[in-house]
């Protein structure tokens, strides 16, 4: 094949497949994490100001929007991690289909890490 589309068209039947949910979750979580990472690093780089200056900057994040964001990002990070391991298993492991149990695991692990975050951070 000399030419191929960058993105094949897929119908609703393909989109209703569990693997499409895994694809969508991986894309969504990855995109948000990529946007968050530079901001996260910028906040950590405020430690250049020493303990007091760093604490002043951290105090700016003691606001419900940031708390909600941290909680959501931990869930997204867990989903991206487990979903990513699934992709590596499909691509580098022995072929055992679409590894749907890993999709279920990523959802369950995401919920668990969200609950654990709420429990530990009060």
């Amino acid at each position: 094949m000399s030419q191929m589309r960058a993105r094949p068209l897929i119908d609703w039947r393909a989109k209703s497949h569990l693997a499409y949910l895994a694809y969508a979750m991986h894309r969504f979580s990855g995109l948000l994490l990529a946007c968050f990472i530079p901001v996260h690093f910028f906040m950590l780089a405020q430690s250049l100001r020493g303990v007091e200056g760093f604490q002043q900057k951290l105090n700016l994040t003691h606001f419900w929007v940031f708390k909600f964001g941290e909680w959501a990002l931990v869930i997204l990070l867990t989903i991206h991690l487990v979903g990513g391991v699934r992709l590596l298993m499909i691509e580098f492991g022995p072929w055992r289909g679409l590894r749907k149990s890993w999709i279920q695991a990523s959802i369950v692990m995401g919920i668990l890490s969200g609950l654990l975050f709420l429990y530990l951070s009060n």
Binding site: R7, G30, L33, F41, V51, F54
Partner: protein, 121 residues
């Protein structure tokens, strides 16, 4: 219709491999980082606690610099894939993954050095 030339396909294969190798490293790093998050958030996060763990700790610094380097490879390739698939004709958007890569390697490395030094550079 968007077509991919032969040399672009070779590049895409190399990028695919780089992203998978970095994903293997990130898999370990993220798992450890999540455990550190769950340990660190107990009772709230303070600057004193964070710097208490990281200041002068070469193990933390090396671990997080590896983490930053793996992110530097992994995230921009993923971002480029998403932008290429959704906006194949927008040339301006091709700069976004490069900007992301530079932000990650520069700010990430500054963050690692500053957490290691504790602001005493």
């Amino acid at each position: 219709m968007t077509v991919i030339k032969a040399d672009m396909r070779v590049l895409q294969a190399k990028l695919w491999y780089a992203q998978r190798i970095s994903a293997m490293i990130l898999g370990l790093c993220v798992a450890i980082h999540l455990l550190i998050i769950f340990y660190a958030i107990r009772g709230g996060v303070t600057a004193q606690e964070i710097l208490g763990r990281t200041r002068g700790n070469i193990g933390f610094a090396v671990f997080y610099e590896i983490f930053v380097l793996a992110c530097f490879v992994h995230a921009p390739i993923g971002m480029a894939n998403i932008l290429e698939e959704n906006f194949p004709k927008n040339r301006f958007l091709k700069l976004v993954p490069w900007a992301l890569a530079l932000l990650i390697i520069f700010i990430g490395s500054v963050a690692v050095v500053s957490l290691f030094s504790g602001g005493q550079v």
